[in-house]
């Protein structure tokens, strides 16, 4: 995708001509009030007016493969929608207010605790890879600040920019924001969404992409009711979408680069996978109990804490700080980061060579 855009692929050139196009390759010096987006993305687009009003965002990821939720047709649709907002501007300025710049406690990434003074406002051209602030470091620095202060990291800072699937909406990556499928009994289904609905506005904000839906969800709270305007069979209509308690937890943040640092804090550097049901049965574990397989144990520095405490690749975690029910890695990380403090030691039971063994894991 990046190559096609950077080379001005003929499929995009006509639309790119309607914009002034800029490519930014570093987060050093990035204005955090202006650039508020999912920092775990390695490729993202923001659309602006010259007065710095944000028209919208494009770029969505939901797994290890970074490209499956991106498409040329989806980007084209977003560019067309952003350009339509530009044509209507400034008549629509108030509707765009919630998308636009907002003052932040730290104006640029290199001023964030943990990144200062390691990084500067510019990249050292002699060593660009070592001195470039990576976007995901912003999420990491924001969370580390809370953790180091002994405060719990809330759901909103763990399940960031939730995919619409968290509320049961499967949006088509080939379109702007069209519903491909609605999961039965989900908040989206209860609200009345149907396949082929095309979202126009959510919570009053014009929607130019799936990323814009994520933007609204990112800022929404449990119990909030979002007014959704959409096209159905060519006619504009609306409904109320109620977000139930803990709705974000349907999403999974394990794919995120910034989760690497959460694993350091919560798991001593372990990378965990859910044990498949067949393997559970083979090892005598029920379908509803905790069973997370150690795929990797960090080997260096602060990421080797679990290894140094005796954990090994191939162990299966069956109890963690009193948690014994079935959970994903991200749920366990959240539990640790919300219920413990750095320096605590938790008891973890692992299954190794058919035998249970309890180890003590120091948390960071």
């Amino acid at each position: 995708m990046d190559e096609q855009v950077a080379r001005r692929d003929p499929q995009l050139a006509d639309l790119l001509d309607r914009f002034v196009c800029a490519r930014v390759v570093q987060a050093n010096g990035l204005d955090l009030a202006l650039f508020r987006y999912d920092f775990d993305l390695t490729w993202a687009v923001l659309f602006f007016n010259a007065d710095r009003t944000v028209y919208g965002r494009y770029g969505t990821r939901g797994g290890k493969d970074g490209g499956e939720l991106l498409s040329v047709s989806g980007l084209r649709a977003s560019m067309q929608a952003a350009h339509a907002l530009h044509k209507d501007y400034p008549g629509n300025k108030s509707a765009l207010a919630a998308k636009s710049p907002k003052e932040q406690a730290h104006t640029t990434p290199e001023q964030l605790p943990g990144l200062k003074p390691r990084f500067k406002a510019t990249v050292d051209l002699a060593a660009p890879r070592k001195t470039c602030v990576h976007c995901h470091m912003v999420h990491e620095a924001q969370r580390k600040r809370l953790r180091d202060a002994g405060r719990p990291i809330p759901d909103e800072m763990l399940w960031v920019y939730p995919l619409p699937s968290a509320i049961g909406l499967d949006l088509d990556p080939e379109a702007r924001a069209a519903v491909r499928r609605v999961v039965a009994h989900s908040p989206a289904a209860k609200a009345g969404f149907r396949a082929k609905d095309e979202l126009l506005r959510l919570n009053g904000q014009p929607i130019v992409s799936v990323a814009d839906v994520q933007w609204v969800l990112h800022h929404a709270r449990d119990g909030e009711v979002l007014k959704a305007h959409f096209l159905r069979d060519g006619k504009e209509t609306h409904l109320d979408l109620t977000l139930p308690a803990c709705w974000r937890r349907k999403d999974d943040f394990s794919w995120r680069t910034s989760t690497w640092d959460l694993r350091r804090m919560a798991l001593g550097g372990l990378l965990l996978d859910e044990l498949p049901d067949k393997e559970r049965a083979r090892r005598g574990l029920s379908a509803d109990c905790l069973a997370l397989l150690v795929r990797h144990a960090g080997e260096f520095g602060a990421h080797a804490v679990a290894k140094n405490a005796g954990f090994r690749k191939g162990d299966v975690l069956v109890a963690f700080a009193g948690q014994t029910s079935r959970q994903r890695e991200c749920d366990l990380i959240a539990h640790a980061l919300q219920k413990t403090k750095p320096g605590d030691k938790v008891e973890v039971t692992v299954l190794r060579n058919g035998k249970r063994q309890t180890l003590r894991l120091p948390l960071q």
Partner: protein, 63 residues
């Protein structure tokens, strides 16, 4: 007036006052069409204002 504004913006944000061509070469991010404004947001906003067009910014981690 426009030059003064541009100079102010560049000074206000030193990251984007860095030599964009040298950075592009250092990162080996050279397969980019020349129509793109490279790593220079101040210029991007200034040109969007001048042209009356919206600004499209691609954020790309290349390291």
């Amino acid at each position: 007036m426009r030059r003064t504004l541009l100079a102010f913006l560049l000074l206000a944000n030193p990251a984007f006052a860095q030599d964009a061509t040298k950075l592009q070469q250092a990162l080996k991010d050279t397969d980019v069409h020349p129509a793109w404004i490279y790593n220079d947001l101040a210029r991007g906003f200034a040109e969007a204002k001048k042209a009356g067009k919206p600004l499209l910014v691609v954020l790309r981690c290349v390291t």
